[in-house]
Symmetry: C3
Subunit: 360 residues, 3 copies
């Protein structure tokens, strides 16, 4: 389970920065937080808010964001310091060096998988046990179909698709290249549509499909519903977190981020590069413009213009939300204040009354 150790010199080289020559041969065995890192591990300091933890770290080395200033220049740092222009990028690079392989079924088709004869699976596929692949399914090169994945008839998967355990892909759905779907997600359930016919909720047929474009990543236990007609679409490069609900005929543009437990109701749409926080609700038929940002827990009931930030329940322009929230914090004081004014006015009235009587 251990990763191959690497030297600090190798890490510095990958980051394109200089390591102290004396320490270049130092063996680094892993990555951990400032607080948890042991004597052979590397860690990160990306802002001054963590200087206290930094001072106490037992790590061998720390990658420090260029613009972070140490509180006390005189005290020698507690570990070897590598300065990086972009600590976030450096973290990603270092994590990559220590990443262990994803567990995958071996190449080939497990004898306990069930593959329809009419399906076409390109070369390089790994299909785990208890996976089923329906009729006329077409799967591109290098697919990884983990155990327990159920793929229905007439599905099309691109190249380098990875479906983790127990994912379900319903019939006639199209998935692009380099798409990853994590365990337990379900694509292509009927959209939720009924019509009260006087006696019962009659089902409105959901005859559309789902289209997942290239380079999409979808978390676990995500539900993406089949369109009433046409398609529910997730645009290329978009990333969807766990437990998200995507209703029928939703359109998610390219490069969107949708954080966990958010729900996008039927026919809502996100433009390009939209960022939606966690537990957000977007009402049906609402459009969110390009590069807009929706704060976590917002309830979006009306269209959001491009590039705007919205927050709150109901969602409003973020500044307005903040202003209303600030006012709400003082709301309990207002009623007593108003009562006091009422009293003062009553007293004034009395005085004025007396004055006018006296003057009369």
């Amino acid at each position: 389970m251990a990763t191959t150790p690497v030297t600090l010199g190798q890490i510095a080289a990958k980051l394109g920065i200089a390591a102290p020559p004396a320490a270049a041969g130092l063996v680094i065995t892993g990555v951990a937080s400032l607080a948890d890192a042991g004597a052979s591990e590397i860690t990160f300091l990306s802002s001054e808010t963590h200087l206290k933890e930094f001072a106490k770290t037992r790590a061998a080395a720390v990658v420090v964001q260029d613009n972070v200033k140490f509180a006390d220049a005189a005290t020698p740092p507690p570990a070897i310091v590598l300065r990086a222009k972009d600590a976030d990028l450096a973290i990603a690079v270092v994590l990559e060096m220590f990443a262990l392989p994803i567990a995958r079924p071996p190449l080939g088709i497990d004898p306990l998988a069930r593959i329809a004869a009419s399906s076409q699976i390109a070369s390089g596929a790994a299909v785990g046990p208890f996976a089923s692949i329906g009729n006329r399914v077409r799967i591109g090169a290098n697919a990884v179909i983990h155990p327990g994945v159920q793929i229905y008839d007439d599905v099309v998967l691109g190249n380098n698709v990875e479906l983790f355990a127990n994912v379900v892909i319903r019939e006639r759905i199209t998935i692009g290249n380099r798409v990853t779907i994590h365990a337990g997600s379900v694509l292509g359930t009927d959209g939720f549509g009924y019509r009260w016919d006087g006696q019962k909720h009659a089902k409105v047929p959901q005859i559309g499909t789902v289209i997942i474009e290239d380079d999409v990543e979808i978390g676990s236990c995500v539900c993406i519903d089949r369109a009433k007609f046409s398609a529910t679409v997730v645009g290329r490069g978009s990333k969807i977190d766990n437990l998200v609900q995507v209703g029928h005929n939703v359109t998610i543009g390219p490069h969107c981020i949708v954080v966990g437990q958010t729900g996008l109701a039927g026919s809502s749409s996100l433009g390009t590069l939209v960022l939606v926080g966690g537990q957000v609700a977007v009402r049906d038929h609402v459009s969110i413009g390009d590069m807009a940002k929706i704060a976590a827990c917002a309830a979006v009931a009306d269209d959001v213009p491009a590039k705007e930030i919205y927050s709150g329940v109901p969602a409003l322009p973020h500044r307005q939300s903040l202003r209303e929230q600030a006012a709400l914090r003082h709301l309990p004081e207002l009623r007593p204040l108003i009562r006091k004014l009422q009293d003062e006015i009553a007293q004034l009235n009395e005085k004025v009354q007396k004055l006018s009587e006296a003057g009369g």
Copy 2:
């Protein structure tokens, strides 16, 4: 994958309306939105808000709601128009005509399914691979058990039940006739009940069951918990969307609609024909009366009378919610206003003081 094309005359006949005789033979190949429909497709216009898209549609034909007026009676419509009394119903009828079959395992029991010898499966069943059916399970006629479905001991399923891939039905649960449960849902997990015994959260046994009545449809990744005792009940004809949580001992009456990501806490109850929007939370032991409607994202902490509409966090009668929201929009202006009044009163006081001194 293509559906059988149908003629416009056939569609008109199904809708019980007249098609222009010259166009009756026109072949329609599918259904799409006003914007997406191609030259051989049919689409819909159910309100005047979409007249712009209508003007630009390339569809062959458009089903138009009777009361929709065209902006400019002089301009000929861009496609053949079929007038329908109820466009929603017409859509459902037309979608039905173009619906492709649901992918199902073939009739019979897959050799890679695991069926307990003591289970009884009526005629017409289709059981997919990697499905397991426990001891003493009884399954009615024409059941469709998709791949990866796990049915525990002593479960009873009615006739014409369909369980999509990877559904889990825990022991001793009863499911009525014509019930559909979509992929990844779990029925019969222990209700969430513990008692702090001074040292740990001791589990309260959950010895009850779940009863799903006839004609219920349940979405994907829905969790319906087993009762503490007696039963958690979903009434006949009710429809539950994806990712809904139904706690132990909840009672959902007949013909309710529960939209995605809603949570009904333990022992809460919905009457008949209750409509609950998405991401709603209903507190434990709260009752919602017949035909009440709960707006999306509401947090229902108290009983809701029959036929009322509630919304908001916490949920209030919808009118009150709207009134408070409207007032909130103006809240930031109130403090400056009150300050201004304070100043004016102070000035008045001064003037009155002077007057009374002058008069004294």
Copy 3:
């Protein structure tokens, strides 16, 4: 399916209280609510709010909380009454007596399970069909691995672990002793981390793990993500309800309760004995102190001190939330009130003006 009937004397003995000698031999066949209990069943009355249902119960016997007073001491109770100091504890004890066994795969490894040769499974294991166990997995004594469970490489499970149907445990995850995970949950999906590289959301490798300590119970369709590095941790004795999202690097302390549909964002932490209601959102990097309580539907954006109760969106100390909510209920009246004051001040100004002119 029926439980073995027990006598009222046996129940009383288990509860450590006295049954009326004449009724000790009475056979009790089950447990039900006050309203539903039949003539051979036992039920409970834990507070005076249910006295009406109590008066009408058809139960054979009722366990009544010691301090509950009957409305009318003269009327004989409708059933045999057993007085208990702690009705909640009594309910748990009685439910235990009537609990039916959990349906489990038989001891041993099902021939339709797929077990890697390099895995080690201690004695007493039951592994159901369609379960897969990866390379180098180590499983403690008496494990129950239900059908369709997928366990990836290098996972470690303690003793007496139970994984219900279709659970997925990703590679290199460690699970303690006496841990129960309900159907459909997923542990170890990559944390949700990307970096915009100017052209795309580049994935930040998630090389950490998940650690589930002893005596944890996890509901259905729960997602617990793998850490970016180090570990996402669920502390011993903690209980997590259905459809909860636990982000990467979250730390849940010992003996916490997390109710359904709650989301804990990345690197948030709960102390010891924290209680988090349903549908709560906790922002990333936020800490909630020991024994704090978070009300259902709260959105926690800042640290919560130990022992505090927080509620609301955004979450505030509960008293402040209540005060603001109370003020909000009166907010719509404030604007008209202020307008009235404005009018009164205007009138006063006029009067004072006249007076000063008259006096001038």
